[in-house]
């Protein structure tokens, strides 16, 4: 270890960072900041929907809020959070000294602040920010878009480049830098889910880049890819978008599956049940994610045969997803459970994600989807999978690994308070949205008929509670780092397994300079 130097000092440490831990830390803080930005847009949305009538914002601005909330949460909060987690944990879990491509790692992070600065700057442009939904369906996002759409397109290009570089790095690292004896079928499940996610990203992001490039030429160079008047096809936009978009939702959720598969065994004091079926289930979900995209488009007028194909393929996803849920419960079954904050978030994940999965089966049925489509039922469904899925697992991951990252232990009581406030706030926000959706409330509207008033008010109150819970989260993290009880145990948790628990806490700047041997 003696030949290695420590980190550079001051701003240079971060600007020129090539260390996976520093870059991981920057990703995590960046995504945390974006989480609060996207969350504040959600607060504006819920405040406007608190009661019928327009009170706070004009409809045009409301649409900017829904659009930017989706874009920031998906591309700015959740994806970079899991990339940050991968940066920190993948080398530690496979016994590698660092990521395989450290300079590219630096670039893939530093693209992000510029991309989001460009995206957020659209608020200050004439005509305002993108207001066409995070799915940016043409021609609302082309012919009818505000001029700022061009900046949105370049921001998406940058995000795609960043994601692809990050993915290549993860794949190369796992393929080449595994410690001796760390065979593929011994990889921690978090590493497996990230490798599969990285392949999804490499396949899906260029398709997104293609979609926005066609938009760019439609807007500025007189092409008509998506304009019916010029012989183009607006429905083709949706096919291309969702060929990216559906894998994208698995890009978000697979690393979350990985996190949960690490944490549940620890606090059950029992090995993960069905390891190999977990790996195969993840791979199956990834494969299926590429052949189900048009279930987002049942009402676009696809031919019957197309509807049937996409309906059957989509229903199939329930099988490997069910396997995962059953495996997690079987892992807990017969264990000796304790309920520290990370475990609470993971149990809530299993419970709430399953609810989101069941509404997913309902939505997969084309004839009934004609009733659900574009209603608040869909909003409830995907927040049960995305928030209770990705965000809850990310919260679990932070509490679980923070002692390793910082060498400090969080306050368990405060962690539990955060969990319960988040759990109650989340369900109060999104459960009533199933009801208003079934009763006929369309999504993405700034004002609604009087019959939806009560459930919307409930939903808004829940959202404010959930928003407050995130302030507790921030407080907990900051307090732990500043004043937390010092925790130098290599193995923070009694039941924890894995190479990351063999290095000191806090993890030193360089780890595994000499590879460990895995038996």
């Amino acid at each position: 270890m003696s030949e290695h130097h420590g980190p550079a000092t001051g701003i240079q440490r971060w600007l020129y960072a090539t260390n996976h831990k520093d870059i991981g830390t920057m990703y995590l803080w960046f995504s945390f900041a974006m989480f609060f930005l996207g969350g504040s847009f959600a607060m504006v949305i819920r405040a406007e929907l608190f009661q019928p009538g327009l009170q706070l914002v004009e409809p045009a601005f409301f649409n900017q809020m829904t659009t930017m909330h989706g874009l920031i949460m998906v591309f700015g909060a959740v994806m970079p959070a899991f990339v940050g987690l991968a940066n920190w944990m993948v080398p530690l879990m496979i016994g590698a000294p660092d990521m395989a491509l450290p300079r590219m790692n630096n670039l893939s992070f530093w693209i992000l602040p510029f991309a989001f600065a460009m995206l957020v700057s659209t608020f200050f442009m004439e005509g305002g920010a993108p207001a066409f939904g995070w799915t940016f369906y043409a021609p609302l996002s082309t012919t009818y878009a505000p001029p700022s759409v061009t900046f949105f397109i370049f921001a998406v290009h940058l995000l795609g480049a960043s994601s692809i570089m990050g993915s290549i790095n993860i794949i190369v690292t796992v393929m080449n830098l595994r410690a001796p004896g760390m065979t593929y079928m011994k990889l921690p499940l978090f590493v497996w889910t990230w490798v599969i996610t990285a392949f999804l990203l490499i396949a899906a992001m260029p398709v997104l880049a293609g979609a926005v490039t066609m938009m760019l030429t439609d807007i500025h160079f007189g092409t008509s890819f998506f304009s019916a008047a010029g012989g183009g096809d607006p429905v083709m936009f949706q096919h291309i978008f969702w060929f990216f978009g559906h894998p994208e939702v698995y890009i978000i959720i697979l690393p979350a599956f990985g996190v949960v598969s690490e944490i549940i065994p620890t606090f059950s004091r029992k090995r993960l049940f069905g390891y190999s079926s977990m790996v195969y289930a993840t791979a199956s979900i990834a494969f299926l994610s590429f052949i189900v995209w048009a279930h987002h488009m049942y009402t676009t007028g696809m031919p019957l045969a197309g509807e049937l194909f996409f309906m059957y393929a989509t229903m199939l996803i329930a099988v490997p997803t069910g396997v995962k849920v059953f495996n997690w419960i079987a892992t807990m079954f017969g264990g000796a459970l304790t309920f520290e904050t990370p475990m609470l978030f993971c149990i809530a994940f299993v419970f709430l994600f399953t609810l989101g999965g069941l509404t997913g089966v309902m939505l997969s049925l084309a004839p009934v989807d004609f009733a659900y489509h574009d209603s608040y039922f869909v909003v409830a469904h995907f927040h049960y999978t995305m928030v209770a899925g990705a965000i809850f697992s990310m919260s679990a991951a932070v509490y679980y690994w923070l002692p390793k990252w910082s060498g400090k232990m969080y306050n368990e009581t405060m962690g539990k308070v955060h969990f319960w406030v988040a759990f109650i706030g989340f369900n109060l926000t999104f459960f009533p949205q199933h009801f208003v959706g079934l009763a006929g409330m369309p999504r993405r509207i700034p004002d609604y008929a009087l019959q939806f008033a009560d459930f919307n008010m409930m939903s808004s109150i829940g959202a404010f509670i959930y928003g407050f819970a995130q302030l507790l989260f921030l407080y907990n993290v900051v307090q732990t780092i500043r004043k937390g009880k010092v925790n130098t145990d290599e193995k923070t948790w009694e039941g924890a397994e894995g190479l990351e628990w063999t290095v000191p806490s806090p993890a030193p700047f360089h780890t595994f300079s000499t590879p460990p041997t895995v038996k």
């Binding site: 505000p146 000796a336 574009d374 199933h434 004002d447 939806f452």
Partner: protein, 384 residues
């Protein structure tokens, strides 16, 4: 648990219907109730079938949840460290893993069969009695009654009729019963007839959605999608645009009035006779007066009531070179639209006498004092 779902499936209609009756006649007798928590079967046979399928899947999901969460809860209560257990060491079981792969797959197949049958029915729009072309515009609907035998057709626009003083920021007026779900002129269709909707759009995507009629179809520019309904009960049914279509997406409702066949035929006859344009010459004052109301109804969504538009998105008309410049250029933009922008071709939407009033108003309001009076005949001549 799987046994009970299978039983449920075999007796699905009675079981689901029973479940439905407790749900829908109990707490939520009135479908527009503020505590409605479920889909409504609506007033069509297809809607009832979709509803039954929905309830079947809901109950299967409930059964699965009870089983899965039951085990989870049991584990959380009993298999804890606090209870002094030593953790078990098993971590795989081929039999169990195969079971929970195969059983869910079988349940899915059992759901797929009725779903396929219903979808096939939903797609069968053949043998319609009435055909209506539904065109979405930012932010209104146009309904054109097509003729089966090449006879006369007629069309009209249907626009939100809730006054702005009920919803705009700082609004003080009390909100009406059908707040945001009311239009100036509803679609009228006959009861117990197969009505086919040909749905398209003139600008961005919209979606025509009336839950009670079990119809939701995307309106896509350049495409004509079809959907159908056979309403079995007279009444007024309300819906909304379901696809984000810009600023006023939340303000383009749909109202459908289902009437007896006799009433429908009388209504068609009166529409046919009143859809002719009034080509008589009008004074400037008359044109401006009627133009103001028409402008506020059709144009103010983008160009604003005071003609200032929305900077960067929709151009102002107050002091604009078009409203102050050559009359024919102004007529051209209104009649033919401005390709590549959000300005659509109003020649196809609004009658010539009304267009004339709107253009006259635009040229004489907000300080645009051109003094030009555009007559209906000017529009007709321009089109020729």
């Amino acid at each position: 648990m799987y046994l009970s779902t299978n039983q449920l499936k075999k007796r699905r209609f009675p079981a689901a219907a029973l479940a439905l009756s407790t749900l829908s006649t109990g707490a939520i007798a009135d479908p527009s109730s503020r505590w409605q928590t479920n889909l409504s079967p609506g007033v069509t046979e297809l809607g009832q079938e979709v509803f039954d399928l929905h309830m079947l899947v809901v109950w299967i999901c409930v059964a699965i949840s009870v089983a899965v969460f039951g085990v989870l809860l049991y584990v959380l209560i009993n298999h804890t460290k606090a209870s002094g257990r030593t953790p078990a060491t098993f971590h795989e079981s081929t039999v169990v893993e195969l079971m929970w792969t195969i059983v869910p797959a079988l349940i899915l197949i059992a759901i797929a069969v009725p779903a396929t049958n219903t979808l096939i029915k939903l797609y069968d729009s053949s043998d319609s009695d009435v055909d209506i072309l539904v065109t979405g515009y930012q932010w209104k609907w146009k309904y054109e009654y097509l003729s089966k035998d090449g006879g006369e057709t007629f069309s009209f626009l249907s626009i939100l009729s809730t006054p702005a003083d009920q919803f705009e920021i700082g609004a003080t007026a009390e909100k009406g019963e059908n707040y945001l779900l009311e239009v100036d002129e509803p679609l009228v269709i006959p009861v117990n007839k197969k009505v086919r909707f040909l749905v398209t759009s003139a600008d961005v995507l919209h979606a025509w959605w009336v839950p009670a009629l079990s119809v939701k179809r995307d309106a896509v520019p350049g495409y004509i999608n079809d959907a159908w309904t056979i309403p079995q009960k007279e009444g007024i049914y309300r819906g909304q645009c379901a696809e984000l279509c810009g600023k006023d997406h939340g303000f383009m409702p749909i109202v459908v009035k289902v009437v007896s066949e006799k009433e429908y035929e009388e209504w068609v006859a009166s529409k046919l006779s009143s859809s002719k344009a009034d080509l008589t010459e009008k004074s400037l004052d008359e044109l401006v007066a009627s133009g103001e109301a028409l402008y506020n109804k059709n144009c103010s969504g983008c160009h604003a009531v005071n003609g200032t538009g929305i900077p960067g998105v929709f151009p102002a008309l107050k002091g604009s070179s078009i409203a102050l410049g050559d009359v024919n250029a102004h007529i051209d933009v209104v009649v033919n639209g401005a390709p590549g922008t959000a300005m659509s071709a109003y020649g196809a939407q609004i009658k010539p006498d009304e267009l004339a009033a709107i253009i006259t108003y635009e040229r004489n309001a907000w300080g645009n004092n051109t003094g030009d009076a555009v007559q209906a005949s000017d529009i007709v001549n321009f089109n020729q």
